[in-house]
């Protein structure tokens, strides 16, 4: 009997050992490995974005960069519901709701998830609040540090930076520079594998593997924080004053294509991008929205005429107030008949029939060639994600009326950046520059990569550019651009008041888009500014809305960049 009992017990023990060591080998092996081995992904720090302070750099004779996008440590508050006593749950929910400004019911719902080892309560919690929670010393309630993207200037240059959002639960740069330079900014993850001690810390061993994470590269922008701030401030005031739907201001250095400011309205705070209801606000109107520019396009028509030798600034024509082309009538905006006018006067008074005269003089092929040379049909190649090109398809319809309207900026669409880049070529002795925002990339090992300037092509000769600049100076001195005049400085500019296409009923609506593009000092330009105002109310012409803002911006830049009067 005893032998049978011993046999049974022995058999039971052997059976159990067989079960543990053979049948459940994989499970216990994994469990043991988990206790001894460590495998960790090492996450790189995302590269930061810096903005310039040209004035401070000049004063101190060394570059001064201010952070525009950085990484900041926040905390995540989480609970382990199974560790929280039932009688404490309600009290805890009350305390958390008050401290974290959350709905009590939502917290209770999460706390009551039985057997849940981890339930997040709130992300992006400040260090002070995290410390308060730690001080409470409540079982099952804890905080863990987490790094988030932080934009210390709030909405400043929001359309340029974009933001870091989520895609399939992974952080990823979206829109603007964060999107365009995602590969450079995100860095390369590393990993660590080896043995760990009882506290879970890595201990050196023979079988260890370690690959260091490579942090992302930092970006140094061409944008100046003070010019950007001024542009945003002026734009906000302009939009509010004329109850406009939106607007854009771009400041660029014509000789290099370096963008000093790119402001658009409305704005958003990239720190709280998830609170924006209309995701359309994330689009950068300066590069992602096209419009019919109107008369501000006339210098391009003149450039084609002058450079092809078909007209000269003093070429005269007879304005009769309107031109009839195969049943369609093109009139001057103010309905006036100007009589005999020179090409300079055509620009000064922004005479539509004069622009049509030039287009007809140069013919379809040459006109089309010059519009393409100015790159209106392609994106500029600026280092921002999602840039679109203009639409010049009407140039290829072969219809005379289309060519005629395009000569004064109707029936063709451009982006504000495409337009300022094209006019910038006139300021830059005919050389079309590729605009850019990042002038340097600093890799995690300290290696610096400077951007090289890119000349897209010479679109017109330096002589043509010089003649056209004089004509555009005359626009500001004697024409519609007079409100943009600054005493002591030569300013070249052109206004444009374009009708907005009515997409529902066809034709054009009553709404307008006002634009002013100008550069100064005209014969040695240090900056070119584009100001665009969408659908302003109670004002008819760009000369009255955008030109005075150009004056304010130009005065600021003359002082800021220390440009003495001529």
């Amino acid at each position: 009997m005893l032998i049978i009992i011993i046999f049974l017990i022995g058999g039971g023990i052997l059976g159990r050992l067989f079960s543990l060591q053979i049948l459940q080998y994989d499970y216990y092996y994994a469990l043991a490995q988990d206790q001894h081995d460590i495998y960790q992904d090492l996450f790189p720090q995302r590269g930061e974005i810096f903005i310039q302070d040209l004035a401070d750099s000049r004063r101190n004779n060394q570059p001064n960069y201010s952070p525009l996008a950085i990484n900041k440590e926040f905390y995540q508050v989480y609970v382990t519901p199974k560790e929280i006593a039932d009688d404490q749950k309600d009290d805890l929910a009350n305390k958390l709701a008050e401290l974290l400004e959350l709905d009590k019911e939502t917290i209770l719902e999460r706390i009551n998830k039985k057997d849940d080892p981890y339930e997040p309560i709130k992300h992006k919690v400040s260090q002070e609040i995290a410390q308060t929670i730690t001080d409470w010393q409540i079982d099952g309630l804890a905080t863990v540090p987490e790094t988030w993207r932080y934009y210390p200037n709030g909405s400043l240059a929001c359309h340029l930076t974009g933001f870091v959002g989520f895609e399939e639960e992974k952080k990823i740069g979206q829109y603007g520079l964060e999107g365009y330079y995602e590969d450079e900014l995100k860095g390369v993850p590393g990993f660590l594998s080896g043995k760990k001690d009882t506290s879970g810390y890595w201990i050196p061993s023979l079988k260890q593997e370690f690959e260091l994470a490579q942090d992302g590269s930092d970006l140094i922008l061409t944008v100046d924080q003070n010019i950007q701030f001024k542009a945003e401030k002026e734009l906000k005031q302009l939009v509010e004053r004329w109850q406009a739907a939106g607007g854009t201001i771009i400041v660029m250095e014509p000789a290099s294509g370096a963008i000093r400011a790119m402001a658009s309205w409305p704005t958003f705070d990239p720190n709280q991008y998830n609170q924006v209801e209309d995701v359309g606000i994330f689009l950068n109107p300066a590069i992602q929205k096209v419009y019919e520019p109107g008369s501000v396009f006339k210098p391009i028509t003149m450039a084609a005429g002058l450079d092809s030798g078909r007209i000269a600034p003093q070429t005269v024509y007879q304005d009769e107030g309107q031109i009839r082309i195969k049943g369609s009538t093109i009139s001057n905006v103010d309905g006036r008949i100007y009589g005999q006018q020179t090409m300079t006067q055509v620009l000064e008074k922004s005479i539509n029939t004069g622009a049509v005269f030039v287009q007809q003089k140069i013919g379809q092929d040459i006109f089309r060639d010059y519009v393409q040379r100015f790159n209106f049909d392609r994106p500029t190649g600026v280092d921002l994600i999602g840039e679109v090109g203009g639409n010049i398809s009407n140039l290829f319809t072969g219809r005379e009326i289309n060519l005629a309207t395009i000569s004064f900026g109707q029936g063709i669409t451009v982006t504000p950046l495409g337009l300022i880049t094209a006019i910038g070529a006139i300021a830059n002795q005919g050389k079309l520059m590729q605009p850019y925002l990042v002038e340097g990339i600093i890799k995690s090992d300290g290696q610096e990569i400077d951007r090289e300037l890119k000349i897209v092509r010479e679109v017109i000769s330096p002589q043509t550019a010089g003649e056209l600049t004089k004509m555009m100076v005359s626009v500001v001195e004697n024409g519609f651009g007079q409100p943009a005049r600054v005493a002591g400085y030569n300013i070249a500019g052109k206004t444009g008041t374009a009708q907005v296409a009515d997409l529902e009923e066809g034709g054009y609506s009553e709404e307008t888009i006002h634009t002013f593009v100008g550069f100064a000092p005209a014969f040695n330009p240090r900056f070119i500014i584009l100001i665009k105002l969408d659908e302003p109310q109670g004002i008819s012409f760009a000369a009255d809305s955008t030109s005075p803002v150009f004056k304010k911006m130009a005065e600021y830049l003359f002082n800021y960049l220390e440009i003495p009067p001529q």
């Binding site: 201010s66 952070p67 950085i70 440590e73 200037n153 709030g154 201990i203 003359f558 002082n559 220390e562």
Partner: protein, 109 residues
């Protein structure tokens, strides 16, 4: 008994003594190696712990430095500076006057 036989009888004792010494030496060597191993391991663990402590301290300093940098960036943001300037009732700078080459300038040596 001849002296030869005597020496033969003594030899195994000497051999045993030599083996005993060798054994003791081997045991001592193993003991020493074990002792050194323990010292080494102890040193390694101690160093690892110190490294960990230093890493934690470094991380604390990094977080503190990051917070200070963020604070500086917040204070230096143009929007914040403008608010500060408003509260100080400062007057906006007027038009800059440039001294040209032909302008008479008095220089104090």
């Amino acid at each position: 008994m001849t002296s030869y036989i005597k020496s033969k009888r003594i030899c195994p004792a000497r051999q045993n003594q030599g083996l005993a010494i060798l054994s003791i030496l081997i045991i001592l060597a193993i003991f020493c190696l074990g002792f050194f191993y323990i010292i080494q391991t102890n040193g390694l663990v101690k160093s690892s712990y110190q490294i960990r402590q230093q890493e934690e301290y470094l991380r604390e300093l990094e977080v503190e430095s990051q917070q200070l940098e963020t604070e500086i960036a917040n204070w230096q943001s143009p929007a914040n500076l403008e608010e500060l300037i408003k509260s100080l009732n400062l007057v906006e700078g007027g038009e800059a006057i440039y001294l040209g080459e032909e302008t008479a300038v008095a220089v104090k040596e």
